[in-house]
């Protein structure tokens, strides 16, 4: 429980109606898409940068932990108030401040929902490519903090590749700007990149300056059904080796297809053991050629059927299938451990084979889908943790999956971040020296360890940063 005095101060800063200690509100801000739950002491909805700054100054002085939160759609528990304290819900800061058509740059507040921003820029013929499957509800602040990726990132790059500058509030309450609205800039350290993917542990993002592209003239979406998972995996590396970078190269295995069948009107025949959703965009004549070339490359690999979306609605229907995947996996088993390993693209077939072997070895169901085009595979270990022994088997499988990805020169997370879920494994990937370097940065910026405490580095949870 927080001191009543602290609640009073918070009310003074943001206004009474934006501070709540009601049990119902604490429950509503206690979870994210990991389904873990930690009750905060208070939920605060700040309305501007200055309020955030005052909150941080107070929290730093009083040593109260602060947990920034966007839509709470994170997959690694980044927004969970693991130590109670303050949940700082950033959703009131939801204005698109400027879309600068002369410079192809936009400035937004962090609570803007990804898709709403995309629609706004598309109205004036511009394009913001990063498209996490959660784009209809995730916030841009959360996207920057996690460096979210999505299907289109194969061709266009991930969130950080579009962030030119930020306004942030530091853990001690200072307001600073990083980067700017120019396409280049090398004065001082690149703090913008440091903030991207820092999971709300280094600063609170209050404004985002975003680079935009011209909206491509046309796109073509293809759904290719394969009779084996190997065929699909091989197709991914063959397309890339064929020197074609499609806009998207999304992959789903047979178990995934079973789960989404119920969620879609789309016919998905039984022989289909794997699916690729391939999209190309650009000038109309160029993409027709590309699509034909891709069809040629994949043909020998056991294609059951190829469908090409003719209209925007048909294409959207294909994507809706992909977006419903993640949440529909619950059909397999109630508890999901969703890992998003990333391996060099040529290693995708080998990684898939490894995962199959791991699934057999530990006797747990594993469902695979993801952004195969950039080697980013979502490996979902599905268990019922109420059954004795299953959790242990899942833990062992996850460790093997990480080991496997690292052996192939990959990483344990392509886009979901570490949060609390992957914190126990960070040492498998990062050297002691690298961890020490990162923690030195964290300690310097957040000397009292109050901002998003207990994330990324496991040992902080018990002992605080030492």
């Amino acid at each position: 429980m927080l001191d009543a005095r602290i609640i009073k101060v918070l009310q003074g800063i943001v206004g009474k109606q934006y501070v709540s200690t009601e049990k119902a509100d604490l429950i509503c801000y206690s979870y994210d898409a990991t389904q873990r739950q930690f009750l905060p002491d208070v939920v605060v909805h700040p309305g501007n940068t200055e309020e955030v700054s005052l909150i941080m100054k107070m929290a730093n002085a009083e040593r109260v932990p602060v947990f920034p939160r966007g839509a709470g759609s994170g997959f690694t528990g980044g927004s969970l108030p693991t130590e109670g304290g303050i949940v700082l819900a950033m959703t009131r800061l939801d204005r698109i401040l400027q879309i600068d058509e002369d410079n192809l740059v936009a400035t937004v507040e962090p609570g803007v929902v990804t898709e709403q921003f995309q629609k706004a820029v598309e109205k004036v013929g511009l394009f913001y490519p990063p498209d996490p499957a959660s784009l209809k509800f995730s916030t841009l602040g959360g996207n920057v903090a996690e460096c979210a990726g999505g299907p289109r990132c194969v061709k266009y790059g991930v969130t950080k590749d579009f962030i030119l500058g930020l306004e942030v509030v530091t853990p001690t309450g200072d307001i600073i700007r990083t980067g700017g609205a120019t396409m280049k800039g090398v004065v001082g350290y690149d703090l913008t990149k440091l903030m991207c993917g820092s999971e709300g542990t280094l600063a609170i993002i209050t404004k985002i300056i975003i680079k935009l592209l011209p909206l491509p003239e046309a796109k073509k979406t293809m759904l290719v059904l394969f009779d084996s998972i190997d065929g699909a995996a091989q197709a991914v590396s063959d397309i890339i080796r064929g020197k074609i970078i499609p806009t998207t190269l999304e992959f789903m295995d047979g178990a995934t297809i079973d789960c989404v069948r119920q969620a879609t009107d789309l016919e998905l025949p039984e022989q289909a053991q794997a699916v690729l959703i391939i999209e190309v965009d650009g000038d109309a004549d160029v993409i027709s050629k590309q699509a034909a070339r891709i069809a040629e490359i994949v043909q020998p690999l056991g294609v059951v059927e190829t469908r090409i979306a003719e209209t925007a609605e048909e294409s959207e229907a294909l994507w809706q299938v992909r977006r419903s995947v993640s949440a529909s996996l619950r059909k397999v088993n109630p508890d999901k451990f969703n890992e998003d390993i990333c391996v060099p693209r040529s290693k995708v077939p080998e990684m898939i084979r490894k995962v199959e072997a791991i699934s057999q070895k530990h006797q747990v169901s594993i469902v695979n889908f993801g952004h195969a085009g950039d080697g980013n595979i979502h490996v979902n270990v599905m268990i019922d943790s109420k059954i004795p022994g299953q959790q242990k088997r899942a833990d062992a499988a996850i460790e093997d999956i990480f080991k496997g990805a690292l052996e192939l020169g990959g990483t344990m997370s392509g886009e979901h971040g570490v949060g609390v879920m992957k914190a126990p494994y960070v040492r498998m990937e990062l050297s002691g020296g690298a961890i020490a370097y990162m923690k030195t940065i964290k300690r310097a910026l957040d000397p009292n360890n109050i901002l998003n405490t207990g994330k990324i580095f496991l040992e902080d949870q018990a002992a605080g940063l030492s």
Binding site: A24, I27, T34, G72, R92, K136, F137, A327
Partner: protein, 423 residues
């Protein structure tokens, strides 16, 4: 009759929620209020906490549970098909059982203490209650929907009909031999406020030679009572309607009100047995008319020189149950209609059973968004398939100062169908 499910019986459905947050993109109340307690994910979490004894029926929880239109938009898009609207209704029944119906039925106690609402009450309550409600029977859903003291002074409401629709017609209207027989379930909206929609429905059915029965003893479908958390009333109304609608043999029951269609088609299905049979035979009027080949028959009508630009608003209670094509098919087949689709045709109008009464401000915000989409479509008429939506759309467009006609698709049919059925 199987009793309506208790909150405990929803445990499995509650556990189906994976907390993904997808409902944040689809819940109209969340769109207006931007607070997690207002979205399906939050309500499901609270229902779970209630079951686990982690929280009591405290003020904030009651408020969140009252902030639901029971529109099912979340369910329609939920990857795990978590039936939030059913779970919220079950929580409301629990609340009504423990705290008395007053919480949602007669008015949130906290709202009663709200001075601004009390003000409008003082200004308009007395007048409205005597004028409007004297004419309504005690168990009409309209009483739950619009308990007089809560009706805000700046809301547009249609006048109550001088003579209810059902009293203007015989119980049986013979069609042509060999054609189906249907029972017309009018619902309160058509019976008391929009009898013209009922007239239009009769005209359409006559045009295709169908025999129509208008059971005099039918009552409210029970949906407003579901919304109010009054399980007993729902069950009593269902029993009465079953008796009335099955007194004579009928092939189908037709409705021209989305909410009634959901009440009969969905709630009664949950009551199982002969109620479920009734539910299965219940059809939205346009689904029925399309099945009976009306669009093809409209093609023979003379083309209109002057066209009206019409757009369609999907009532949630039809859209979330997959009825979207048939109303459009009829509209597009009408000779005087130039059809335009608006953006977000499926977004909620903001009425939501008893919702708009207790949360008029939020309801207005949701309605204002809708009004924006309607005017952006360039249509001069917005047609829909539910008297409730018509009322709310009219109110929203009035507030927006938009001069767009709001009507039922049946009203547009009425404009072109001949009085006498073709031989």
């Amino acid at each position: 009759m199987k009793k309506l499910k208790k909150l405990q019986e929803y445990r499995e459905e509650i556990e189906q929620c994976v907390k993904c947050g997808a409902c944040r993109a689809h819940c109209p109340v969340f769109g207006a209020e931007k607070h997690e307690g207002r979205v399906a994910r939050g309500k499901v979490a609270l229902a779970g906490a209630l079951l686990d004894g982690e929280i009591d029926l405290e003020k904030k929880l009651l408020e969140d549970m009252s902030q639901c239109l029971l529109c099912g938009s979340c369910y329609a898009q939920c990857p795990n098909k978590v039936p939030t609207e059913e779970i919220v209704a079950a929580v409301r029944r629990e609340i009504a059982a423990k705290k008395g119906l007053s919480t949602f039925g007669k008015g949130l106690t906290s709202v009663l203490k709200n001075p601004s609402l009390m003000n409008t009450l003082a200004k308009t309550g007395g007048v409205l209650s005597s004028l409007l409600f004297k004419k309504l029977p005690a168990d009409s859903g309209l009483r739950l929907r619009f308990p007089a003291p809560f009706i805000s002074g700046d809301r547009t409401l249609p006048p109550i009909a001088a003579k209810p629709f059902r009293e203007q017609h015989p119980e049986v209207i013979e069609g042509q031999p060999g054609r189906p027989t249907v029972a017309f379930f009018t619902g309160c909206g058509i019976n008391y406020m929009y009898p013209a929609i009922g007239e239009a429905l009769l005209r359409a059915l006559k045009f295709i030679g169908v025999t129509v029965i208008i059971p005099a003893e039918q009552g409210c479908c029970g949906l407003p009572a579901v919304s109010a958390g009054s399980g007993d009333v729902v069950e009593a109304l269902a029993a009465r309607n079953l008796k009335a609608l099955t007194a004579r043999p009928v092939d189908f029951v037709v409705t021209a009100c989305a909410s009634c269609n959901a009440g009969l088609g969905k709630i009664y299905a949950d009551l199982e047995g002969e109620y479920a049979d009734l539910a299965e035979r219940t059809k939205d009027i346009f689904v029925f008319l399309v099945e009976q080949g009306l669009p093809e028959r409209l093609a023979v009508l003379p083309a209109s020189a002057e066209k009206v630009r019409v757009t369609y608003h999907d009532p949630c209670h039809l859209r979330t149950r997959g009825i979207t094509r048939e109303p459009r098919a009829i509209l597009k087949a009408l000779p005087q209609v130039e059809y335009v689709e608006m953006e977000a045709a499926g977004s909620c109008c903001g009425l939501g059973g008893t919702y708009s009464v207790y949360h008029y401000e939020t309801s207005k915000k949701i309605g204002a968004k809708k009004a924006g989409h309607i005017s952006a479509s360039g249509a001069d008429t917005v047609a829909t398939d539910c008297p409730g939506c018509i009322m709310q759309l009219q109110d929203s467009l009035n507030h927006a100062g938009e001069d767009v006609r709001v009507c039922h698709i049946l009203d547009l049919l009425m404009d072109v169908l001949p009085e006498e059925a073709p031989a």
